[in-house]
């Protein structure tokens, strides 16, 4: 810094630590709550210190079944979530790479129209058109299937838009040079464009993975078979109990486990994540 003001530095650290504590508070409580028996919640306040049921709770949620209303264990739903998240991510990246390539490097009739059609999907979330989308997916016989979980969510334009930006920043001389070398559009795509977009793809992968993993309402509606339950939506099943009590300890274990993979991705691939965020919103 410009000048040394010890008290200001102190205040900075203090603020940051306070901020971190505030941000972490709910997770702390969840962690504590996950170590108590169910009965600890019915009769009063959430305990503030760890109980002795940690192993039982975590073990049974992970391997037996998540809780009332969800008859499959968490590890199994993690697998479903992973399939859905990867399906959405890879699907999005693939179709967006292709369409962005077409829009940037080709001139053809209705190019603008195509671009707008794709772009319109950018903002209207699935919640708003949930009933008709559900019927469409049902008509296509895709309820309770991985295709039904992933395909409707691939229809978003963020990735197309990002790749479009990325391709537009590649100098025209490169394309010219490739053409003089006799490279066709396919070779150009694989030999030049893809390698140049590597980091962009990776960054987008991180962002889209989080997006896919965190899907909530859509999986809640299209799955009735717990073989296809995803981790995030299962929370709702466990929470909305009319005829019984919410098993908060199990809900908390499941919540923590559902948060873990995307957090690990963000923290572990922080550089790519930051790049992805900044790119996706530029």
């Amino acid at each position: 810094m410009i000048e040394n003001r010890p008290w200001l530095t102190f205040v900075s650290h203090l603020s940051l630590l306070f901020g971190i504590a505030l941000v972490a508070l709910p997770v702390w409580v969840a962690l504590v709550a996950s170590t108590h028996p169910t009965s600890a919640f019915g009769a009063g306040h959430i305990p503030l210190w760890f109980g002795d049921q940690a192993l039982q709770n975590w073990g049974s949620v992970l391997f037996d079944n998540a809780g009332s209303g969800v008859d499959v264990p968490v590890w199994y739903m993690m697998l479903n979530s992973l399939i859905m998240a990867l399906g959405i991510t890879i699907g999005k990246i693939l179709i967006s790479l292709l369409s962005a390539y077409a829009i940037v490097y080709f001139r053809f009739p209705f190019r603008h129209l195509c671009f707008w059609v794709i772009f319109i999907t950018l903002m209207l979330p699935v919640e708003v058109r949930i009933v008709p989308t559900y019927e469409v997916v049902a008509n296509l016989n895709m309820l309770n299937s991985y295709a039904g979980l992933t395909l409707p969510l691939i229809a978003s334009a963020t990735a197309t838009f990002l790749f479009r930006q990325c391709f537009m920043s590649i100098p025209g001389e490169l394309v010219e040079a490739a053409r003089i070398d006799g490279a066709g559009p396919i070779r150009f795509f694989f030999d030049i464009l893809l390698p140049l977009s590597r980091t962009n793809i990776a960054a987008l992968f991180v962002i889209m993975f989080i997006y896919g993993w965190n899907q909530y309402l859509w999986p809640l509606i299209v799955t009735t078979d717990d073989a296809y339950y995803t981790l995030v939506m299962s929370i709702k099943r466990m929470l909305s109990v009319d005829n019984g009590d919410v098993e908060w300890n199990r809900v908390m274990v499941t919540t923590l486990l559902a948060m873990l993979p995307p957090i690990a991705v963000v923290v572990g691939m922080q550089k790519l994540f930051v790049k992805g965020l900044v790119d996706a919103e530029k």
């Binding site: 019915g42 009735t224 109990v241 009319d242 005829n243």
Partner: protein, 432 residues
């Protein structure tokens, strides 16, 4: 004839043992927690009792979610054969004539014995059409009762549970003086404080016999009796006699934690109550205003029934019919009743439970049955049949919350709820 029947049974059995692929019957339900496990157990018992059909129970969330997702699935032609629908959805289901397979028809089509008189009339009344035909299979019926904390009562020197609302007030005030922070709380406010309240005080909740008489019904719960009650409750909310804690049964923890000394909730909450309380509690009948009625009416039921949806194969329906028969067997019903706290729906199950000495061993478990069967139902106490009622309940919830928070008076709130509710009733009338 007899030998023919026998022959067909034998043939049927041999076919069943040859074909390993049993017909699967999907059953969507809303029973979470321990009751959900019991549902799985019942289905399993049925599956093991025969080889031709497999009932597959699927938990679909709370009542609203279960019903709405079944309807969405029906639109998409992916509906389950059986769906559990709560009592407020009854009118909507009944009106959907093209979507439901009436249970009385199903049972006679597939030769299963089914007599309305075997069932408690206050239960089947709710689910029958004007000619007395049972359209859906009663499964889990409950009625609201008053739970009270015996230990807090003893500490405050109160010897018995209040039977009238007048006593509710004095008892609560006594409790408050003795350090209890809230007198009573309620779950399902519309069901208990308006629907059952109206039934108990013999005032209409809606015109046309609460909707039984026709779809041109209009709401009437803004009458003086109801308004006075809600107004009183809003005063109590301020003084601590009453404390509101949520639309569904979210208020039960207030009772568990001994914050509130009394709790009005479904008689089926008994099992959860046993599990979650460390104190001695009692069950008593829902209070009534002495000043308004001399002898209170019966209460009406809540809970849910099983509807059979159209669009499945004959083989599946055969399985459904045989499963429904299994469900109403006295031993199955008595077991379910004793486990969950829901009412016994057949006379046989009630008798069986009595004979087993269950009620003496578990004091308070009979309260709901007695309260519901105490009087002959009148036009105001045989139940409700109102379209779009799921949505209307939310309107009532919204209005009552306005009263509890002191934003509106009881009269304003109920007037506006009646007005908004009527608009939805008209919409329902038009759509059906």
């Amino acid at each position: 004839m007899q030998s023919f029947k026998l022959a067909s049974v034998v043939i049927g059995m041999s076919i069943a043992s040859v074909s390993f692929a049993a017909t699967e019957v999907e059953w969507w339900h809303a029973m979470g927690g321990a009751n959900g496990e019991k549902v799985n157990e019942i289905a399993q018992a049925f599956n093991e009792s025969q080889g031709a059909y497999t009932v597959k129970p699927v938990y679909k969330g709370n009542y609203t979610e279960t019903m709405t997702s079944a309807i969405a699935a029906f639109r998409a032609k992916k509906q389950p054969a059986i769906v559990q629908v709560f009592e407020v959805g009854t009118a909507s289901m009944m009106a959907a004539k093209g979507a439901i397979y009436p249970v009385y028809e199903l049972m006679s089509d597939f030769g299963q014995p089914f007599k309305a008189s075997d069932y408690l009339s206050s239960v089947t009344g709710y689910y029958s059409d004007v000619d007395g035909n049972i359209l859906s299979m009663p499964f889990n019926s409950s009625t609201p009762v008053l739970f009270y904390n015996k230990e807090l009562f003893a500490k405050a020197g109160i010897s018995s549970a209040p039977t009238t609302w007048e006593q509710m007030e004095t008892v609560s005030e006594k409790l408050l003086k003795n350090g209890v922070s809230c007198g009573f709380t309620t779950s399902w406010q519309s069901w208990i404080q308006l629907e059952n309240f109206s039934a108990r005080h013999d005032v209409p909740f809606a015109t046309e016999e609460n909707g039984f008489g026709g779809m041109n019904t209009e709401f009437a719960f803004n009458g003086p009796t109801q308004v006075a009650h809600i107004q009183k409750m809003s005063e109590w909310q301020k003084s601590g006699v009453f404390s509101y804690a949520g639309r569904r049964s979210d208020s039960a923890p207030k009772f568990y934690s001994q914050e509130c000394a009394m709790y009005m909730g479904s008689s089926a909450g008994y099992a959860g109550m046993k599990r979650n309380t460390s104190f001695d509690f009692g069950v008593s009948q829902l209070p009534y205003w002495e000043s308004k009625i001399e002898k209170p009416n019966n209460t009406i039921i809540g809970g849910a029934s099983l509807w059979v949806l159209k669009g499945h194969s004959e083989e599946e329906y055969r399985g459904v019919a045989s499963f429904l028969s299994f469900l109403s067997r006295a031993d199955v019903q008595a077991d379910w009743h004793q486990f969950s706290g829901y009412l016994p729906i057949t006379h046989a199950a009630y008798g069986l439970t009595k004979g087993q000495g269950y009620y003496e061993k578990n004091l308070g478990t009979e309260t709901g049955v007695i309260q519901m069967t105490s009087t002959t139902p009148t036009a105001n106490s045989k139940g409700l049949r109102l379209g779009n009622f799921v949505q209307i309940r939310d309107i009532i919830n919204e209005s009552l919350e306005g009263v509890w928070s002191g934003q509106t008076t009881a009269q304003e709130a109920l007037d506006s709820a009646v007005k908004r509710g009527n608009a939805l009733l008209r919409k329902f009338e038009k759509a059906n």
